[in-house]
């Protein structure tokens, strides 16, 4: 620490808004993606208020396996249910498991990570080693194993399991990010002023972690949605007739096997498009935010 002046200068500038904040723009495409995610979330929340047929209602007056038409704008499935309605209600499963699972992972992994990285010492060494061991543990196999045995399956159990298994990875990211701030001069200054550890963690360090938490959190949400979708496709997520995009794709794909002599391409195309658009937008928003806030892998 021979040269204090540059270090002070670095500490004085808020690390988040470094040099060229004016040049960096999120761009129109970013806002289109944000808008699309917001639209899906809003539709999922107000689904009950929309003039939609019941997603599990087998309307025998409606055509079976029909394409898009008035009355059923995205068509109907093999049990005469409205695909559009099932898509809207089905988004709830992906969104709840994705965002709530991500939040559980953040709390279980992120909060210990902050304390661990700030206090260091034996607890940190222990937690750090544990997170390595847990990360080497093939989480996906464990999740499939637990989900298959812990019946009856419901959305809350799956959220909890996925959240718990996401925690070690989130722990590593948040720990690395906290470490890079814990030794900065503004933290030393706060300590010198007599601020308590909790205050330093939450008032001084935490605001700097927000960009990492948001951009990495969105990636985590997208990853969890993929995981839930895969489980649903394998028949290991929420039980039918509750719609989810994953089990709709599964139903659509079963109809392709020709066992019942039916094919309904719409029951494949629409859920696939919905899933693709949501994942694409989540990835895009996370990616743009990461470069906007300059959260690089090097910093982690």
């Amino acid at each position: 620490m021979s040269n204090v002046a540059p270090a002070l200068a670095v500490a004085a500038t808020p690390p988040v808004v470094e040099d060229n904040v004016v040049k960096k723009k999120l761009g129109l495409f970013f806002w289109i993606c944000v808008g699309w995610i917001a639209l899906i979330v809003v539709l999922a929340i107000i689904a009950n208020l929309l003039p939609l047929p019941n997603p599990t209602f087998q309307n025998y007056n409606a055509p079976q396996n029909a394409g898009p038409a008035w009355g059923h704008i995205l068509g109907t499935d093999d049990l005469n249910r409205d695909i559009f309605s099932r898509l809207i209600y089905g988004s709830r499963v992906s969104l709840i498991i994705g965002f709530l699972g991500g939040a559980i992972g953040m709390i279980l992994g992120g909060v210990p990570a902050m304390f661990s990285a700030y206090r260091r010492g034996r607890v940190d060494t222990f937690l750090n080693t544990t997170s390595y061991v847990l990360l080497a543990f093939p989480a996906i196999v464990a999740v499939i194993g637990i989900v298959s045995f812990w019946t009856p399956r419901n959305i809350w159990k799956i959220t909890l399991i996925i959240g718990i298994f996401g925690a070690p990875l989130i722990f590593r990211v948040i720990r690395a990010s906290t470490l890079s701030y814990a030794t900065r001069d503004f933290v030393t200054a706060a300590k010198a002023l007599g601020a308590s550890d909790t205050r330093i963690l939450f008032k001084e360090i935490f605001p700097n972690l927000v960009p990492t938490i948001v951009s990495f959190g969105l990636i985590a949400v997208a990853t969890i949605i993929v995981l839930e979708g895969s489980l649903a496709f394998l028949g290991l997520s929420v039980q039918p007739p509750t719609p989810s995009w994953g089990n709709m794709l599964y139903e659509g794909s079963q109809l392709l096997q020709g066992s019942s002599g039916q094919t309904n391409p719409w029951l494949v195309y629409f859920p696939a498009a919905a899933m693709f658009s949501l994942l694409f937008c989540l990835n895009m928003v996370a990616d743009k935010l990461r470069s906007y806030f300059d959260v690089t892998e090097v910093k982690l």
Binding site: V133, A142, S253
Partner: protein
């Protein structure tokens, strides 16, 4: 180097121990107990007690674990109580299919990602680079469970270029038709890996091409092609190699999805089938074998990585 490897081996053993404990205890998540599941409608208290005794389920848990693990070490993973196949025979028949899928898909991914990254890194941020960047970014949003039904619909149902579900022929019985069956699922699995390999190699190549030794090679008048193949590619492929273990482990869910959609009787297909039968011994065995396989694959790639780049072990 020796110390580093010893440390990794100790870690490997610890992780495999935890994996085995987890696989063992999973069964106790079953509602009721295994006896109730096995007996089904015959589950009277007497029958349960008898079965619990024959299965050794009345012993303390730690004792049950040691009995189970000693059987595992002797290659006995129990027997299915629905199909009466031994778990080992189920796994022996299914595992080669997963290995074949993973090997073919990784070869495909590397065959696409390497040329793409080489061309893209020559002129960063120009048209080809931008197109391949956006295209691979889009692939990130196409996990196997989304793209498999779409591909089956397009290539098998509509165009008939690839066989649809339930047409699997084994590698030894009919090689040509087996490979034909494998193309579609392998493409699906390769898509996700292409993104990873392309991005890593492209970024590494761009930074390698700015190094002094490349400028040196240029000033000697070597051709771009020679610089790329002889000087830049090798130091840049290290992170691709390093990521392969993790990437392959990440394919597991995808492999299960393509297998269950295309009815390829690999481990994923068997796992889902036996889960449906509530046949816990086979499920337990498959989970154990898949988890241990992933841990060992990761370990091997770590090891390979230290051979290619000895600096890692020294850190």
């Amino acid at each position: 180097m020796g110390k580093y490897i010893a440390k990794r081996v100790v870690l490997l053993i610890i992780i495999i121990f935890f994996v085995s404990v987890a696989a063992f205890f999973m069964v106790h998540l079953l509602p009721g107990n295994p006896a109730v599941t096995i007996l089904g409608p015959n589950a009277t208290p007497q029958n349960e007690a008898i079965l619990n005794h024959t299965l050794g389920l009345d012993k303390p848990l730690y004792e049950q674990y040691f009995i189970w693990i000693s059987h595992v070490f002797r290659g006995n993973l129990g027997q299915s109580f629905t199909t009466h196949n031994t778990t080992v025979s189920v796994i022996k028949n299914a595992f080669p299919i997963d290995i074949e899928l993973i090997v073919i898909s990784q070869l495909m991914a590397l065959a696409v990602a390497f040329p793409m990254a080489i061309v893209a890194s020559r002129r960063p941020n120009r048209l080809f680079d931008q197109i391949s960047n956006s295209a691979t970014f889009g692939l990130l949003a196409l996990p196997p469970f989304v793209i498999t039904p779409v591909f089956v619909l397009i290539f098998a149902v509509t165009w008939h270029v690839f066989p649809g579900p339930s047409s699997y022929s084994s590698l030894t019985s009919n090689l040509g038709s087996n490979l034909h069956d494998m193309i579609l699922p392998s493409i699906v699995l390769a898509l996700g890996s292409i993104v990873v390999y392309f991005r890593l190699l492209r970024n590494d190549l761009i930074s390698t091409l700015q190094e002094d030794f490349i400028t040196m090679a240029r000033s000697k008048g070597l051709s771009d092609r020679r610089i790329m193949w002889r000087h830049a590619l090798r130091p840049s492929s290290v992170s691709v190699l390093a990521s392969m273990g993790v990437t392959i482990a990440g394919l597991i869910a995808g492999t299960f999805v393509v297998e269950s959609q295309l009815q390829l009787p690999g481990l994923g297909y068997q796992l889902i089938y036996y889960i449906g039968q509530l046949d816990y011994t086979v499920v337990q065995g498959i989970v154990l074998v898949v988890a241990v396989a992933i841990v060992i694959i990761n370990f091997c790639f770590d090891f390979l990585f230290t051979i290619v780049d000895p600096r890692i072990a020294r850190e």
